[in-house]
Symmetry: D3
Subunit: 227 residues, 6 copies
């Protein structure tokens, strides 16, 4: 299940992120990669512990908090602090695997990386190449979205970012641990939530059928959620 | 989840069953009980392999096949041939446990006894006592229904039949193995099926919300059904 | 599984709770209900953050901590601070669904609402109506207990409180997240715990059968508990 | 997981199927659709019980039996007899849901429809339109393959066949019940099987690492397979 | 969980098996091994379809049917026809993996190989070497039992038979598919069954604690058994 | 799965532990046992809250942190502070059951005791008796390792320490809650991790087969890990 969420950031937030990033100290992205991934990773990043990363991270987290689609699709329990990266001409990230268990910086806690999210901070017109490529057995799905849009996808696939041949691609990336461990269950809850929303546009909240559907949704969450 | 189903048999079917049973050779019910249950079982039964039991069993199975509530609540994969029993004055079945794995008579096959069903063949006015008692931690729920009505309940509880103090109580009893092993999941599917039915009385079948709800139902069945 | 626990509060604790509540600022219960439930909720509550709610909440939590039946039945991992509510003449809470995921006030944490508990603070003789009604497919079970008694039940059902026609019904209510997510597994552990307790009244602790039963119980907990 | 399998039928088998179908009695496809799907289904079919359907069904089943990719991806326990359908100009199958439980014609048995397979019997050059469209939250994936090729996909999605605007699209379609109920587990086993195959092209069969990987694969199958 | 069962065959049955095998046509054991296992398998077998194998197989199956320990430990749903093998001086079976899914000869059916059983037909004094070696991370457990005894163990381990240095080792071997797929659950049910048996030697069957323990056992079987 | 880990402590760490313990105030081990276990426990312990226990506990935890075998086998989420015990002549710990849920001293938190670890601090030559005995249905496995070595085993078995007949046996013991609740899944992940390690000694990290195996490992962790 890959879900596109348009306008998760407002144009003002995108502009603010870009202004702060423009003045930030970019470093080699390999500092935060494991030994296997480091061999295929060629990009730039803002250091996780920098003041800029933390301020912009809060902008992202506030945006997530107000977005019902993100919350219904990811059902996040914990979110790793958002990272900010940049691919200039010639940079790319070859096919790789995301580790399943990550340390949350500055705490003793760990997080299971269930759901990946990329928020685009530059527009497709600003660069060539740079598609996010999600590989599965059927082939490769390519994603390239307008600035401020997000794509939410399971952290289970081999994936890559194509080489940039013109311009520069800026983005924010983070992993979430979901309250719903299994991605098939997560997808069913999302589908049921959307179907109930659609039903509620046509039937009143106090309709017994609507009440019964809401009860089924909450009882499925009780059956599946871990927190 | 205890579900009452009114009129699972027509009055004609009830009358036919009673006429056949009336002319049948009743035997001591302990013949079909395990050693633990036999100590508390005092009733009469029609032999499972008798012509009468088989003919009336088919009447019951046809009635089940046409009943959408029974099928939605039990989701039967296999049904053990219905048994016919009778409690006269002084008879009862003390608190006991139903074995989980039963042999299907006349075949090498076995069945997991998930769901119990009792169909009442005599009316409450015809006898005193004889309540089916389902014990759980909250106390005891007593069930006594009109002739032709059924009660469907999980085979997991301690249960009993109270002593008869007047008249005679006739009934049919059988176990089903459900396609849905877990009774909590079975209950959620039943609730969702009923909620979708209610929604479809108000919204057309081709409404995208109705289509999406049907897809969720079938995908939950795919996730849970064993056959 | 609905479990009644007599005398979870002592008469002195009940009297203390009532005295404190009597002097408390009751407010409209809809302040703590979601939009769907608010439409059917008509009662009074003590504000969660009030000094009175916190003091009495501690009384309740201490009572839970010393009660082996509550701990065996609910196997609580986290308990939401107890709430205190009151239904006067004409008040009621219509059939509604409890949300599955709740925020723990004053923390960033959330809790999965698995188990509901109501502790009665007024006696049945003090009011008419006011039954807690747990609806399931079998019909409606009504609960109304002496002051100081509790009822523990799964948070999965549609439920309601009948309208008060005389007097006033006071109570405390709270949700627990259980270490055992599945209510069928929770019920089996409760049954096994009770059966082992009963066996230990007849056989010594060091009997190998008792030791083996205890090992099975703890290994089932290891298989199922999430914490 | 959508998997394309090239050349599951040989050119001779495709030619044979087309010759037999050419001489067959096509009937309205709605005869085999449930009431909801019938409203959006406009195509032609060979009757399931016809001699032609049975002979060609055997051709298909033999082809499946010899194909390691199909067996690794679907892990079929039971396959419903293949159906043969045809879309002429103006025909289509609107978005619909496949029922989860199907009867196997001519037997009392049922099958859980886990995996859908379409084998194309006409080439893309022979018709316009007619794409198989698999809808998910990310958008719609369209599939249109050369004659003799197959696409294998989970039976869980809303899907449709686009209207034909030129020529005619012939195909065979069938559902399989998999030994692996969960599609995420099925995908992991497929990925592990492919990875072990690739490892065995480089390391000898008796290498302890290869032996250990094979043991992990078989033990995962033991953990997950139902048959 | 490795379980030794003494005297699963009577001395007369052992003698009968040996007399029939003595007159049987032994063939190279590699005929029934997959390509990976064939490289390490050096023993002799009776052809599965031979009259002798079928007659002795029935002897074994009857012995299993009357043995409560075997049935409680393996909870067999299906048993593959027993095989008979022989290791003479210089023969052995190197470390190997048992395939998870086996075809039942002469039927279209398959079986999941959950539980392995070896019944020894020669006494330890009759040969040197020939230990059955079950390898796990802790090291290797070696098993060599008197004629007529059996060892039951999960089919999940790497295992081998040591080279024979004197005499000849005869045995019967077969796989069972268990009603309980997970070996941890199977072990818990076995432990609970044994503990209840031990309790029933001290408390009467109608003791409420015994009744409650039996109910827990059957409800765990209902939760876990697949058939 | 019992795993021996050699040299988890360096000789210097062992010597340091022994020197500190030598000067410590040993107390009766029954202070930290539940009522059932206390009846069979006869040994000495360092008080959990003592300065010595805390200092040496940190030595142990640092040693665990740097040991890849321990981390792959136990996948620890939380570790209870290590305890230090001592068996002198005549002391022993009879067969007993470890409780499943433990309180973490000095915090409100609890831990599920999944994995037991014993680190030996004295050499086998220093004492007679004192074997750790893990009982399962197959019989009893006895473990007695050199100083500095560890044994890691599931906390699910009945186990005991044999009576000391000469010298003194010193050791450290602690429970871990694993990210992988089920011990069968934990064993499969350990086996897969070891197999991938072995493959990586022969094939380069960027080999697609190695990448695919790493992806399967991480996706199994995503499917099973709870944190
Ligand atoms: Ni990545
Ligand atoms: Ni019964
Ligand atoms: Ni409520
Ligand atoms: Ni379809
Ligand atoms: Ni083998
Ligand atoms: Ni212990």
């Amino acid at each position: 299940m890959l879900i596109q969420i348009p306008d998760i950031l407002t144009p003002e937030e995108v502009a603010h992120c870009r202004a702060v990033l423009d003045a930030s100290p970019w470093v080699d992205g390999r500092v935060s990669a494991g030994p296997q991934a480091a061999k295929s990773k060629f990009n730039l990043q803002i250091p996780v512990e920098s003041r800029e990363a933390q301020e912009l991270g809060d902008v992202i987290l506030r945006a997530l908090g107000r977005n019902p689609i993100f919350n219904s699709a990811a059902m996040p329990l914990r979110v790793l602090p958002p990272m900010f990266n940049r691919y200039d001409v010639g940079m790319k990230f070859g096919a790789h695997v995301d580790g399943s268990i990550r340390s949350i910086p500055g705490t003793g806690q760990r997080l299971r990386a269930d759901v990946s999210t990329t928020i685009f901070l530059t527009d497709p017109a600003e660069y060539d190449g740079g598609e996010l490529v999600i590989e599965d057995a059927y082939g490769a799905q390519e994603v390239k979205l307008p600035a401020g849009h997000a794509v939410v996808y399971p952290a289970t696939s081999l994936h890559s970012v194509n080489e940039i041949t013109r311009g520069s691609r800026w983005g924010s990336f983070f992993w979430s641990q979901s309250m719903i461990r299994d991605q098939g269950q997560r997808a069913m809850l999302y589908d049921l939530d959307m179907a109930i929303m659609a039903t509620r546009t046509k039937l009143p909240d106090e309709d017994p059928a609507v009440l019964a559907l809401a009860n089924v949704y909450h009882n499925l969450v009780r059956s599946w959620a871990e927190l």
